[in-house]
């Protein structure tokens, strides 16, 4: 099997997805290859913070100004993925209020609108904030759904002709002397092998790019910095809360979709551990105790789950914490750097700057291909974001929409027009916590490379709510079995899905979360007999 493409992009995270979109919008024939599902690495394992750049203003001006520019672009092109909540940088009595002036000055220099507000006013605007604050600065932070953002980029790339292969692992880089010409791959689900060729290969594998580069004969010093986060079961805050001090542990609380997320920690982990991250009890304790300083009510709020990701930082010095490494974009032309033609690595950076990273990588690819096509991703809305706000969209369709209909619009944006929600079956709810209806599940299975329940969760938020799949797991499995036709496989998949949910609940399994686990275990193991082989 041999296929010709203009560019092969490795990695289905936000960087790869964004690059695939940019390349296909510029008319290139694109192949996107991902070892797992899209958004499984660092893309799906972060705060979901739509940075204003303020966090980096003092320590990393370049990143800060990149952030604010991209922030303003995403608010326009990815409206259905973004929640424009605004954010506060708060000063607690134990913090140095003097830092506030330095911070505001740095923000202003980076082009970030930072406004000092009265602590009383801050408390009025955000009642969950620590009442003992002595200072507050308002900045244009927000939240972004990384799964949706990534899926929208992939979807748009496909609309423009890109081919997407998920669960496909690169087994070999094909080289012709010093020229990289393609990749050999294996489908991890079917075992089938294949070979694809293109004059340019872009490595967008995040921390795993280290390994791909090695296969190609190049070396990148990656610094795997693990960050752990906790998800709380509902939105405690409506406005992003940051500590107004040098970046440290657990100092950002982000309201994202129906939940809020506190993070992060930062610890160096061995490269081999990147695929098997675990959240440790000391990390949970740290996140809770520091988080409660931002918002004391967190100490009494139900925790849904814990998770961790690895920042794909490119190491510059021997900083033991990884905090001082630039979050800046690293776009490597391996021809000039290592003498390998047709090979580009795009790494470093952040979720926030994925579009800019994609633009830089695509510019470089176009140059290699001898093309001069301008980038349009800064002004072309992603599919779903063309039509303005959620409220406007649902008011145009229904006179008295149900919450599930509104929630679907919240996720799909203008794409809701392709999701039928009128009849009783189509509109009936599969995931009750997140209000995901049957037709949204169906539509994701048909159009968005869904191979299993976990993929389905990333596309729709099904199973991400309070009950963590207790009610929707078996329902979604039914729909998937109808579509895929293999009941036994879906049954095994359901087991894996429930275990994957448990993995995130385990580090925080006490109180209501533990009761929920026990009830879920009873339903699935004892009533549904999922333990029987």
């Amino acid at each position: 099997m041999k296929q010709e493409f203009d560019v092969i992009i490795l990695g289905g995270g936000i960087t790869g997805a964004g690059t695939a979109r940019d390349c296909s919008l510029r008319g290139l024939k694109v192949l996107l290859i991902e070892r797992n599902d899209i958004a499984t690495g660092a893309t799906g394992r972060n705060h979901g913070l739509l940075h204003s750049g303020a966090r980096y203003a003092v320590t990393d001006k370049e990143s800060a100004s990149e952030c604010i520019k991209e922030n303003m672009i995403l608010k326009k092109i990815a409206r259905h993925c973004v929640d424009d909540t605004s954010g506060f940088f708060i000063t607690l009595p134990e913090d140095d209020l003097g830092y506030q002036a330095t911070f505001v000055k740095a923000c202003t220099e980076a082009g970030i609108n930072a406004e000092i507000i009265d602590p009383q006013e801050a408390k009025r605007l955000e009642p969950s904030v620590n009442p003992s604050i002595i200072g507050a600065v308002r900045i244009p932070d927000g939240s972004v759904d990384p799964f949706r953002l990534c899926a929208s980029n992939v979807y748009d790339a496909k609309l423009h002709g890109a081919v997407v292969l998920t669960y496909t692992e690169v087994t070999e880089i094909i080289k012709n002397q010093d020229m990289l010409t393609g990749v050999k791959v294996q489908n991890r689900r079917t075992g089938e092998c294949g070979e694809y060729h293109a004059p340019v290969v872009i490595n967008a594998c995040g921390i795993w790019g280290h390994h791909i580069a090695e296969m190609a004969g190049a070396k990148i010093g990656m610094y795997p910095a693990k960050g752990a986060l906790l998800i709380f079961a509902h939105r405690v805050n409506g406005i992003v809360l940051n500590r107004c001090r040098k970046p440290a542990n657990a100092d950002i609380l982000v309201p994202g979709d129906t939940v809020c997320v506190i993070g992060t920690t930062s610890t160096k982990v061995p490269y081999e551990e990147c695929d098997h991250l675990q959240v440790m009890p000391d990390e949970v304790n740290l996140l809770l105790s520091e988080g409660a300083k931002l918002s004391p009510v967190l100490a009494r709020t139900r925790i849904l789950r814990a998770y961790a990701g690895v920042r794909p930082l490119v190491s510059a010095d021997n900083d033991p914490t990884g905090r001082n490494i630039s979050r800046g974009i690293v776009c490597l032309d391996h021809e000039t750097r290592d003498g390998i033609k047709g090979f580009i690595t795009i790494t470093g950076g952040k979720l926030m700057t994925y579009r800019l990273m994609a633009e830089q990588a695509t510019d470089m690819a176009c140059k290699k291909l001898g093309l001069d096509v301008p980038c349009t991703t800064a002004t072309t809305p992603l599919p779903g974001s063309e039509e303005g706000g959620i409220e406007k969209i649902f008011k145009n369709i229904w006179t008295m929409p149900t919450t599930a209909q509104k929630a679907t619009v919240g996720r799909a944006g203008a794409n809701v027009s392709s999701i039928p929600l009128s009849d009783e079956y189509e509109g009936s709810v599969v995931c009750e916590c997140e209000e995901v209806p049957v037709s949204e599940i169906d539509s994701a299975i048909r159009n968005m490379d869904v191979h299993n329940l976990v993929d389905l969760r990333r596309r729709t938020r099904m199973g991400m709510g309070t009950c963590q799949g207790e009610l929707c797991g078996c329902r979604a499995a039914c729909i998937l079995a109808k579509d895929h036709g293999d009941v036994v496989a879906v049954r095994n998949d359901l087991k894996q899905f429930m275990n994957e949910r448990w993995k995130g609940m385990y580090p925080v399994a006490w109180g209501e979360t533990l009761r929920e686990c026990a009830y879920t275990q009873w339903v699935y193991a004892e009533v549904l007999g999922l333990n029987e082989s």
Binding site: T258, T301, M400, T403, E432, T466, E512, R515
Partner: protein
Amino acid sequence: MEKKEVSFNNFEQCIKCTVCTAYCPVVPVNPRFPGPKQAGPDEERLRLKNKMFFDENLKYCLNCKRCEVSCPSGVNIADLIQSARRRYSAATPTLRDTMLANTDVMGRLARPFAPIVNSMVATKPVKAVMDVVLDIDKNRTFPNYKAHGFVGWFNREARSKQAAYSKKVAFFHGCSTEFQHPEVGKAFVEVMNAVGYGVELMNEECCGVAMIANGLWNQASRHAKHNVAVFEKMVGEGLPIVATASTCTFTMRDEYPHVLDIDNSKVRDSITLVEKFLFDLIDAGKVTLVFKKDYAARIAYHIPCHMEKLGWSIFTKRLMQMIPGVSFTVLDSGCCGIAGTYGFKKENYEYSQEIGRPVFEQIRALAPDFVCSECDTCKWQIEMSTGYKVLNPIVILAEALDLPATTAANRR
């Protein structure tokens, strides 16, 4: 811990077992109502994300509280729904809603013309006009307003006699005792006097339950504040607040703090129902009841939803079972469908009758002499739908007691 934060987080105790939805009387009859689990804890998360996710279909909640009674995790589900309506609903009460909600004002307006009003609202043309103009269902039978209220009777006939009692209770009579069923108040005074307690009235306002149901939040809060202040004075003087209506009692104890955010903590435990008050006295050996020798009745007991929520139906059962010659059957627990003003509304009438159908059928099958119930709106619904008379337990008790003998037995 601040009170507000506790109730704010209360919905997190939900483990999605969905028992509440199985017990909701609205779910089987009205597909537009999302059910208590979804309307309460589930959608609260979306509402906290953005108020635009509020669903106006929450107005179909009866606020019967059966979801809360069934919840094994202690979630105040119906409170969540009512609070959401209070915080987010864009619907403004209609003229009809305002009229239905102001049970006290309507009573005062109607009273001088009671015979005319009663006969008029019972006629087909007037019903047809109300159906079209006010959206009050034409099939609904209105309770009769009485020309002479309870308070007037009390002032004329009973007030002067109360000074003779050293022990006293403050009686919260409520709107329907005043305007429609003064016999309940008279029975209360007779029984309390017979067991040795004097009765005092207060400058009470309507408890506000119908205002809560119809979205007149500010007015409900004003009434709540007024009543709490009056109760605090009475309780300060050592008088318990005793009522005969289960919904008023429940509202003043639980809805004031949970839905209206009115602090009643100083008086909540002193607000009680007459059945519980009497039972506790009898149980403690402080009061003796002497019944008529020839009293006989076959009684079916319908437990009002808010009585279930209070958990106090046991006191009524025990009291009724003390009466010799009574054959007492407790009906299967279920909502009668009226839910205060809900069933009066045209858009709810059919749901209302469908919800109550099992109750009506069981009553017809039992064919009792009459039905016993603490709630006056249940009374209206059951009387209209089955033709069987419904009596408040205190009225039954007053009828069954040998009052002179009881008075003598308690004169120590």
